[in-house]
């Protein structure tokens, strides 16, 4: 066996035994992604609030008031605010999240989680946990419509007021190559969050077509923290982004802004 293969298999053995997301263990916990909050004079964020428990049980018509718990975090993962928003009785409520029009959302908020009620519903979901993988729509002030993206990965659990980060990280540093070649002219903004319980150091590498990589950002993400970094892509050539960290999956949400168009997807 070649030395490189042996090394790869050894790394594989170190990484594989753990999953991207840890089981919350506490029965009745509910799970949410950590969604990017773009909230200023330029950006608008809309969350599609659905009756997740009703969709599971097969009855989406509400007979009593139910609420979802929206929790907002700053870039350091500190909880800033909490709001109970009523679950729509008609199926869908598009919740507009903006700190300028809603003072209860701090202007420092950069992400949010949405936790549904679980235990009260008496859902028959066995050993599973109710999860909000969400659909969030983003628009710029000059956008004609919203660009939607679903949740990136399960990040937090909630039970009786306690929030836990349930993402895993590995023992060794690894590379994640964003699976989107950057093409200009466009502005790219990458939202990266830390779903693990501990701080994680991150290096962001930018590579050209000949795969010469240069470090463009280096930062530490605290647990539940998030950061946006930007790449201006002025030419039409291709380039790539790599995330070097101990994340199992260092996958960002990508915002591509070009003209009046906005394209948002997980990378």
């Amino acid at each position: 066996m070649k030395k490189s293969d042996l090394l790869r298999k050894a790394k594989y053995a170190l990484w594989i035994p753990r999953k991207i997301t840890r089981n919350p263990k506490t029965k009745g916990s509910v799970i949410s992604d950590l969604f990017p909050l773009r909230s200023d004079s330029q950006w608008q964020t809309h969350f599609e609030l659905l009756n997740v428990a009703g969709l599971i049980s097969g009855d989406n018509a509400l007979t009593q008031d139910k609420y979802a718990r929206f929790i907002f975090f700053d870039g350091d993962g500190e909880k800033l605010a909490e709001k109970l928003i009523s679950i729509p009785s008609s199926g869908r409520k598009t919740v507009f999240l903006n700190s300028e029009s809603d003072p209860s959302i701090s202007s420092r908020a950069s992400s949010f989680a949405v936790f549904h009620e679980s235990s009260r519903d008496g859902l028959d979901i066995g050993e599973s946990f109710l999860a909000e993988r969400g659909y969030t729509g983003y628009s710029l002030s000059n956008s004609a419509i919203r660009g939607y993206v679903h949740g990136n990965f399960d990040s937090l659990s909630y039970k009786d007021g306690k929030i836990k980060a349930i993402g895993n990280k590995g023992l060794l540093t690894r590379l994640y190559t964003v699976q989107h070649p950057l093409r200009g002219p466009a502005t790219y903004e990458f939202f990266l969050s830390n779903p693990t319980p501990r701080p994680v150091s991150v290096k962001v590498l930018h590579g050209n077509e000949s795969k010469k990589w240069s470090e463009i950002e280096r930062f530490e993400l605290k647990s539940k923290g998030s950061r946006i970094f930007r790449v201006e892509k002025e030419d039409e050539g291709v380039s790539f982004i790599r995330i070097r960290s101990k994340f199992y999956l260092g996958r960002p949400v990508v915002f591509r802004i070009s003209g009046r168009g906005l394209d948002v997807f997980h990378g």
């Binding site: 989406n60 598009t94 028959d124 066995g126 946990f129 699976q179 996958r251 990378g267």
Partner: protein
């Protein structure tokens, strides 16, 4: 594993992919790969060599660079392989040369017009011929926009079969209409004509065909496009036996729909 190039309505499609895995340890394949375009004529899968991609290279293919018959169903597949393919195939090739699990090896696939583009991170595997689809669709937007449902289906067999999809209001189970979807195709359904309101959560069901459902939004002035797929019902929960829960969710909804008919 295949990468889809789409064409829908007046929009062209694009596929942007690299011979560069998402992680540095799962797949160390480095041989040059043949890229084949695969499309169905209804009787056979047709294949056509597109070129070779070397490790580290990146390629973008636009739908307008392909012949019309290659996108007659709205979807053409790109398959990287170390093998040579015959021009006609009875079934889609099974061997994946590019693969990874954390995450899946994906490309950027999307649609564009003169001024905007929209995309998602794509890979596609053949779906079972006998299967069903149930999806809740929160992507309809209002005012200066046209809304569509886009359903992707690929099966190993080349047949193009027509199936029905039913559209309901998920709260009161009122049936809003019926539309057609096809196997091995990107089927486009105009949604605005059905009269869903901003507080409705549409429920789309096909009892005979599986598919990957997308919301496609096109700003009336063409300045922006929006494309995102919904999760399968299993994504409403995490851990435990998700497949069993998905079956239960589908069964429950199918049963309720049956009771209301």
């Amino acid at each position: 594993m295949f990468f889809p190039i789409l064409k829908a309505l007046h929009l062209q499609g694009f596929l942007d992919f690299g011979y560069l895995p998402a992680n540095s340890w799962e797949n160390l394949e480095s041989r040059p790969m043949n890229l084949y375009a695969l499309w169905t004529d209804g009787d056979s899968w047709r294949s056509e060599f597109q070129g070779v991609i070397n490790r580290g290279e990146n390629i973008r293919i636009n739908s307008n660079s392909l012949r019309p018959e290659m996108l007659a169903t709205g979807i053409c597949l790109i398959y990287p392989t170390a093998d040579e393919l015959m021009p006609k195939l009875d079934l889609l090739p099974k061997k994946p040369y590019w693969f990874s699990n954390v995450p899946e090896w994906r490309c950027t696939s999307g649609l564009f017009n003169e001024g905007a583009q929209t995309s998602y991170q794509a890979e596609i595997y053949p779906l079972p011929s006998k299967a069903s689809m149930l999806t809740f669709h929160p992507f309809i937007q209002f005012n200066e926009i046209d809304n569509y449902l886009l359903v992707l289906n690929i099966t190993s067999e080349p047949a193009i079969e027509t199936h029905q999809i039913e559209l309901f209001n998920s709260s009161n189970l009122e049936r809003y209409g019926l539309a057609e979807v096809r196997t091995n195709s990107a089927s486009v359904i105009e949604l605005d004509e059905f009269g869903f309101t901003s507080s409705d959560l549409p429920l789309f069901i096909s009892k005979t065909m599986a598919g990957i459902p997308f919301g496609l939004g096109i700003a009336k002035d063409g300045s922006m496009l929006s494309l995102e797929h919904t999760h399968p019902p299993a994504s409403l929960v995490l851990f435990g036996n998700r497949n069993q829960i998905q079956s239960k969710i589908k069964k429950g909804w199918f049963q309720r729909i049956g009771e209301f008919k």
